[in-house]
Symmetry: C2
Subunit: 712 residues, 2 copies
């Protein structure tokens, strides 16, 4: 009875259209939008099926979520609301079993008399009472049927029976509720998501409480909140950067400013607003940001005559003025940078530091007379980015160039430093330095030219060569993921705003006031002498807290080195040093403390980088047979392939390396492998023999070794 | 024939209401909104009457502008469009003469058969064809009549006759056109406004071209653009801060960060968005920002479920989290600061640096256990603000406390440093440091409390004492206005990003290559040796520009000191120094240049401050008789009065010191004097004798000497 004809007997469609079979939401939307009979205004409906955790012997009862395409689904929150446990995306088998459909054809119309009562169907409230038009799959990925929300609701309601109710829920409200809860009580939110077995047994209240290896996402959030790096905010996708993380950003700013000033780059500030006209000038030429642009349409109680965008990036903000300012080759190069925040209203699940709707970054925008100059700068900046990661944050990265598919859409080529999160085995783009070529300066774009100084006739025009490059607060997230452990944050000394904490120990009720004072004074003196040699030291003399509490507190916050001073230490004129990264304890004589501590901090910095690099290196696998790709990815590695560099092959690799039946982690959206970069240093792998070495994915001639991986 | 009855014969009102007589647009709006018969949706209509410049013997023909209340009127642009000269707001006499009405009763209905053809009537296009309802005065300030736009238009059209046409114009488009012109060609915009006699005769293309003393607004804009401090941007009220001004801000940031860090303040970053709910929490309690808030209502193509505001300031962003973080008195004090941009969508005429829709600032927000702690910090911060002005920018300010009327509406008291623009004789608020008291921490606001550590029962709650304090890029505008001259910008050495420019001179076509090289090399060497002693020096070795061009160029940009090196200087091992502030030239031996140049820069800094302070001091007049107030203000001075400190008296002073019949300068909106501050240092004026010294405005007992002035 679930044939389309049967369905059509009971609903009055606004329209039905046929199109090519589609295998993704984006393809579906494209196909529908291209069809002449599609209603002018509509939204697509998505159907997501989850399998809640049940006893192994129980028959699974799938959770079927019917929602507007644009609605962010947090299945675990919904499941929790319904009293279900751990909802995981259903396998294709389950879909076939229940609905005789694959995931590309799923539709509310797949629910019928025979399967309705075997599922837990949920519909988004907004749909149920709506006269708006919604597109749903007509039981096939190549047909779409348009119905009003009310009709969809009515269609489903008829299958209700005793014990088989259609739930309607406001998913936005559920999400807001959870976030409000998280904001009000940071301990609750991650705990909600934390798997039971991820909880660290006996974890005391201030410890992290979730194991990094088991529930990475829960661990990450907990570390950030407990280390006071960040707090949740009541606007979704926005976070508060507390001093403990912002100070890291300031250290990076100071370092980077010094380096770029030496290159002749000047800082400036351009407005955060872009008029719709100017933004649309780019839209015609460059895909990308427009679906994520936040629009200001009202000021006070007045509607603006034209909506004004908040910058998602500043090419269109800046380049009209470059055209005005650059009058002669003598005005070149122009090298401006700004530290600002940009807004990209993504609807994907936000992730602190990695994907946020507002984020802090620097964006450099330069204009040059010649390509070689531009090329040189692109690599100089990339080298600075590498150093920010490796020298400041102790996070190893691989510099390389992006594939055509992955480059910045408006540019000529994109260089990148690629990081790696070993716990999940995923790559993560660290920062990018783009050569835009003359794509933005050409007459139909921003028309930025000078008279060619090398043209003897004096008539020739040269369109300028442009670069843009950016590094965001994402670096902080990568650093936390790389170094953090089950005690909390681990900060590399160079970016720690407290490098050494000094804790008085061994003070008991019996300790005399004099002895107590002597210990506290020694802690203060020690802090002072370290400060004098440029070490960020702090004596923690807080009253009313035990040394154990303080140890935990500073461990959680990742302070690289702890020095303990008790009565015995005082007597021996020494201090016990405890490394945060290794836990190694060693007494240090106070006499030469201003030499030994800086050295120890250097050692910690070097060791942290070395260990992270060993891990990364060990997880980059040289692969030449396709059969080894997926299993290597599944082993939480990235693969490096001798690659043909063709876009169709990249699409194919992504498709074939996806794990369709496995749960999709919404926070790590790309389950298929994409190209991460073509490393500049090709020498670490077996030389490619031109015409002989073949691409393992398609069999064509390989060009360069290219890293592929699942990624953030 | 202009009685209301006559009017009512020809229009069909939607409603007519009576209310109290009103004497301002705000009061009118309030009266109308309070009336039960007012239509739900309406806009008020304003009528502005200007007198264009004509020959003295000619009969004036007023320009009558009919527009929606929310429309920003730039009368000069409109006048220009109509071929009229210099439109100034008409005097009350002129209004009475033409319309038998005062300015509070002006209405389109005042136009009739007898006066229509004697005026130049203009109506905003948006009104003419609109079915929306508009409120207009019913020939009196105590009656309002509601008509559709079409009806208003029809009413007016009947008076058209040969040579007496009603013009309809799109005022937004005229403004946008002018701004586009300004953005495309910065020279055009100020020139438009510049009075003919302000142009400096024989001014070459790169010089300022407008005299500071004659057309101050035109001069200011020109200086900013030609010094490359700033550029106009195509979103009204937003400006580009180019490196030449942004570097000043960076110097201020570095200095201020160092000082506040020493006070235990930490930097952080809070999101730029505020949910409408949270913002409205403040709205109930505090007047102020809501008419100027920019609202994001859309992301990509999706409407947000709730509009989200862009912060106009961050009290409501931050304090909910203070409530969460502050659990115990041990968590106090909390001292956070952020450097960010805020948005206040003002509809008044924008002015670069002084009044912009987005501006950069720092905002500090602190919480303390006790009022004395809070009080102390308020003054410490104010002292830092004074030093930013006086020590860095060489701009004198007067520290004091604001009157009740002028304080931050949500706070307990506001301290301020008040500056002075001598060219216009107006005061300008420099920066403010507020004690918020417990107004934001109390239970019905943000509920920020700790257990009172001094309460023996352990039950008592103490609501925290809060401060907030901010300094914005406005400081740069005040600095430019204070020191700039008819050659352009004059930078105090401490904030100049180039302190010394070295220009090779005396090179002619006959100069040998060796001699040329020797001179250029010496310039480079000189720059290098100065850089080594921490001086920001630059050798201008650009080819193809004459020394004269370079002199002009750097003078315009305000570089404090120029050093010239020609063949004769080289021979004598000396350089000719030229001070930007005084033009004084003096040879300096190269031998001790690394001592003499830093000393000379210090002298320049001190001299600039001393001169500006002498001017300010000479313009603060101790006044004890009311008769002297207005004439002193008219002499471009501020007055200091022995004041009663009563709000009604302040209102009265403002009212009585306004110059109603004189042209209102839209950029300096307050023509009446308001209180600037009650200076902390009362000792410079004759001691007030309690009970004896009387307030010259109202005759009551004087409390403290208080500065009043016209202001920005």
């Amino acid at each position: 009875m679930s044939s389309l004809d049967a369905v059509l007997q009971s609903v009055k469609p606004v329209a039905i259209i046929s199109h090519d079979a589609t295998n993704s939401p984006a393809a579906w939307r494209e196909a529908v939008e291209a069809h002449p009979s599609t209603p002018k205004s509509f939204e697509l409906i998505k159907v997501l099926v989850y399998k809640p955790k049940t006893a192994k012997t129980a028959t699974p009862q799938p959770l079927v979520i019917i929602a507007r395409e644009s609605t962010e689904i947090q299945a675990n929150l919904i499941a929790k609301k319904l009293g279900l446990k751990e909802a995981r995306l259903a396998s294709e088998d389950l879909l076939t079993e229940f609905f005789s459909l694959d995931k590309n054809s799923l539709t509310p119309l797949a629910l019928n008399e025979s399967n309705f009562s075997k599922t837990t169907p949920v519909i988004e409230t907004a749909i149920t009472n709506s006269d708006s038009v919604y597109g749903v799959h007509a039981l096939s990925s190549s047909e779409t049927i348009f119905l009003t929300g009310k009709d969809i609701y009515a269609y489903l309601l008829r299958f209700e029976a005793e014990g088989a109710n259609l739930q309607d829920l406001n998913f936005e409200a559920i999400k807001a509720e959870a976030e409000a809860g998280a904001a009000a009580n940071p301990k609750a939110a991650p705990a909600e998501k934390a798997k039971d077995d991820a909880k660290i047994e006996g974890a005391v209240q201030i410890a992290i409480g979730i194991k990094k290896e088991v529930d990475f996402a829960g661990w990450y959030t907990n570390v950030l909140i407990k280390a006071e790096m960040l707090d949740y905010y009541n606007v979704s996708g926005c976070y508060i950067l507390r001093p403990w993380s912002y100070s890291i950003w300031e250290i990076i700013q100071d370092w980077f400013n010094e380096k770029i000033r030496a290159m002749g780059v000047q800082n400036a500030y351009f407005p955060m607003f872009v008029s719709s006209k100017v933004l649309e000038r780019e839209k015609d030429h460059i895909e990308g940001f427009s679906p994520e642009v936040a629009w200001v349409t009202r000021a006070g109680n007045s509607d603006l005559e034209e909506p004004i965008a908040i910058r998602p990036t500043s090419e269109t903000v800046m380049y009209p003025y470059y055209a005005k300012w650059i009058k002669s080759h003598r005005d070149l190069p122009v090298k401006l940078n700004q530290w600002n925040s940009v807004v990209r209203w993504e609807f994907k699940n936000p992730q602190p530091f990695l994907r946020t709707r507002e984020f802090l970054w620097q964006e450099g925008h330069t204009a040059h007379l010649t390509q070689p100059e531009a090329d040189t700068e692109v690599r100089e900046i990339l080298e600075l980015y590498r150093r920010v990661y490796e020298e400041l944050l102790a996070v190893p990265v691989i510099p390389g160039v992006k594939s055509e598919k992955e480059k910045f859409a408006g540019g000529l080529y994109t260089t990148t430093v690629e990081g790696f999160v070993s716990t999940t085995g995923r790559g993560i783009q660290g920062a990018t330095s783009h050569c835009l070529g003359q794509n933005f300066s050409r007459p139909e774009m921003f028309n930025i030219f000078v008279e060619d100084p090398n043209d003897p006739t004096g008539q020739g025009k040269t369109y300028v060569w442009q670069n843009s490059w950016g590094l965001s607060t994402r670096v902080i997230g990568v650093m936390v993921m790389t170094h953090g452990d089950n005690q909390g944050l681990v900060l590399p000394p160079r970016v720690a705003c407290v490098q050494v904490v000094i804790v008085p120990c061994g003070i008991t009720a019996k300790t005399s006031d004099d002895a107590r004072k002597a210990i506290n004074d020694m802690c203060e003196q020690l802090a002072d002498s370290l400060k004098k040699v440029g070490i960020k030291a702090k004596a923690d003399l807080r009253e009313g807290y035990t040394p154990g509490f303080k140890f935990n507190d500073w461990e959680q916050k990742g302070v690289p080195l702890r020095l303990e001073i008790g009565p015995a230490d005082l007597a021996k004129q020494q201090t016990l040093s405890v490394r945060r990264d290794t836990g190694v304890k060693a007494p240090l004589p106070l006499a030469d403390i201003t030499t030994t501590v800086p050295q120890l901090l250097d050692t910690i910095q070097v060791d942290m980088f070395r260990r992270a690099k060993e891990t990364y290196d060990s997880r980059i696998k040289e692969i030449t047979r396709w059969e080894d790709v997926v299993s290597t990815l599944d082993d939480k590695c990235v693969v490096v392939l001798p690659w043909c560099e063709e876009e169709s092959c990249e699409d194919d690799i992504k498709e074939r390396s996806g794990r369709a039946a496995e749960p999709q982690d919404e926070r790590a959206p790309s389950a298929g492998a994409k190209s991460l970069c073509i490393p500049f240093d090709q020498s670490r792998w077996t030389p490619i023999e031109p015409g002989k070495t073949k691409c393992p994915a398609c069999g064509k001639d390989a060009k360069r070794w290219t890293m592929f991986g699942r990624s953030y």
